[in-house]
């Protein structure tokens, strides 16, 4: 009776020892794997840090040469090496704002349609179609804008605008000048179509978080659909909608290719929305590889740094708002 397998306590001891050995064998790979995942998570932070540090270093010659004048002048003279970022900043802000002016009401309208009005069988296909719009790469929007939208605007819409609104008092200067086709207005329209799906999908998602009970009570009191949207859905989802709008704004500010094709790349600040202009990202995309001289390159990198800071602030604010909403949802 010396066989270990027949002796219960000995068998238990061997089994425990086996298990301990097996666990010991896994201890090191286990720790390595955990460390790897942690390192990968840290890599995300390193990436952000790397972006900021490398852009700041690359932009330094421009900031030390021009100081704060870089932000407040609109001279852009590669020959004399005088650079100011005001014109691209102006173009970025104006195109994004006009784009939001169009995309926010339209995007919210689609979201309301999808959540309140749309017959159930159509809901999925239309939702997918809107998401397709979000999936189309920005360069496709650029090519389409250059070959289809710009000629259309040049031949039909812009002459009409110049003939009517261009003569109007106050807003007249916004619609003056020859119809180039490309310019601030065209870029804004393309941007509007591009950010539309982001605003729609975020607002649709937050609209769906409204408890049905709230809406049904309002309907029960005899509210119309519009009143339910205006008085129940929108107040309930305000933070989320604003978050979605800012997410769209962040996209619009940083969008490069769609704008580069149709903006005209002119470092001038002109009142007319029909005039060619430039944005931060379009300047970088158009000029970076042709930039000769360290100061020119540094100025373009400085533009990139400004763009990154602006979009970072906007996107961070958007995230904080959406997070606030999620926390309320969880509570």
């Amino acid at each position: 009776m010396t066989d270990a397998s027949l002796h219960p306590s000995r068998a238990l001891a061997t089994a425990t020892a086996d298990r301990a050995r097996a666990l010991a064998r896994h201890r090191i790979p286990d720790a390595v794997f955990a460390a790897l995942t942690r390192a990968a998570a840290l890599a995300v932070l390193v990436m952000l840090g790397g972006v900021i540090v490398s852009l700041a270093r690359g932009a330094w010659p421009a900031f030390s040469a021009f100081g704060l004048d870089f932000l407040t002048t609109s001279t852009w003279n590669p020959v004399k090496e005088r650079f100011g970022a005001l014109a691209p900043i102006y173009g970025t802000v104006v195109t994004s704002l006009i784009a939001m002016l169009i995309a926010v009401p339209v995007g919210l309208g689609i979201a309301v349609f999808l959540t309140e009005l749309c017959p159930r069988p159509l809901r999925r296909p239309i939702g997918i179609a809107v998401e397709l719009l979000a999936g189309i790469p920005s360069i496709i929007y650029g090519v389409w804008g250059l070959f289809v939208l710009a000629p259309f605007l040049q031949e039909t819409v812009q002459p009409a605008l110049i003939a009517t609104l261009g003569r109007a008092p106050l807003i007249g200067p916004l619609f003056e000048g020859p119809p180039y086709g490309i310019g601030l207005l065209t870029a804004s329209l393309i941007l509007a179509v591009m950010v539309l799906p982001f605003i729609t999908s975020v607002s649709r998602d937050v609209f769906e978080t409204v408890p049905p009970m709230l809406k049904e009570s309002a309907y029960g009191l005899g509210c119309t659909t519009w009143e339910v949207v205006r008085r129940v859905v929108l107040p309930y989802t305000r933070a989320g909608v604003i978050g979605g709008v800012m997410l769209g704004l962040g996209r619009a500010l940083g969008e490069t290719m769609a704008v580069t094709f149709v903006i005209g790349n002119a470092h001038k600040i002109q009142a007319s929305l029909l005039a060619p202009a430039t944005t931060i990202s379009a300047s970088i995309a158009n000029e970076f590889t042709e930039a000769v001289g360290d100061l020119y390159t540094a100025s373009l990198i400085a533009l990139g740094l400004i763009l990154f800071v602006i979009t970072f602030v906007v996107l961070a604010a958007a995230r904080l708002m959406l997070m606030q909403l999620e926390r309320r949802q969880g509570a």
């Binding site: 896994h26 286990d30 932070l45 397709l132 970076f288 979009t311």
Partner: protein, 289 residues
Amino acid sequence: MSHDLGPAVRDMRRYAGRARRNRVWMGLCMAATAFGLAMLGLILGALLWRGFTALGPAVFTQTTPPPGAAGGLLNAIVGSLMMSAIGVVAGAPIGVLAGTYLAEYGRSSPLAAVVRFINDILLSAPSIVVGLFVYEVAVRPMGHFSGLAGGAALAVIVVPVVLRTTEDMLRLVPTQLREAAYALGMPRSLVIRRIVYASARTGMITGVMLAVARISGETAPLLFTALNNQFFSADLGAPMASLPAVIFQFAMSPYKEWQDLAWAGALLITLTVLALSIAARALTARSSA
């Protein structure tokens, strides 16, 4: 004389006004939807029409032509495939591991919260900035543009996309599954790799596919990293052509042949993106059924 009307009539008027306002606003919502769908139709329509007109066998067999001559996009297609492959191979593992940290090890730790926040911002950060970043850390020190730098720039864009979907998918795996595996004595890393990854696999693959779709149209990060190359080159140390960069150059040119090739390239990219997103959707639909 409206103050003479009885309350019932006033109510009727008010109801009619509310109903009218409702019809107007709901009509505007439908118009907005029609506008969105019309835009999608116009863009896809122009793309299919101009793209298929320009698409021929030469597009896949010849390299990009000099101005005014006929040619194809072979070098750009090969370049795009190679750089996208580098981007995915380098970026996806980092994204998966970091997503694993957020969903498994970190969960509610302060580090995880910060990484999650930063990652969400990187997800929509302007991609041209990524191009400048890689230019500063890779192209400038090496002294020349290269396909490798282009792949690295794409990898930086892949990481946040894969990280986000991986975390979301791992969180969907029921805790009981993990607990059952722990109860059998499995060490944590094995539970994650054998049990959690196995049950979240389709979702994670979907994430990688979405990342590929995202980078296949990315132009801005390639402009100052891989630059462009008019000739066929599979040398990762040299400037490399890519579909988006060639489209940018050709579409902005005054030459008819180049513009046609730009449309053909645009169609190829869009078909790739659509195919990938449809496949990703089909995968998730099947796994959730």
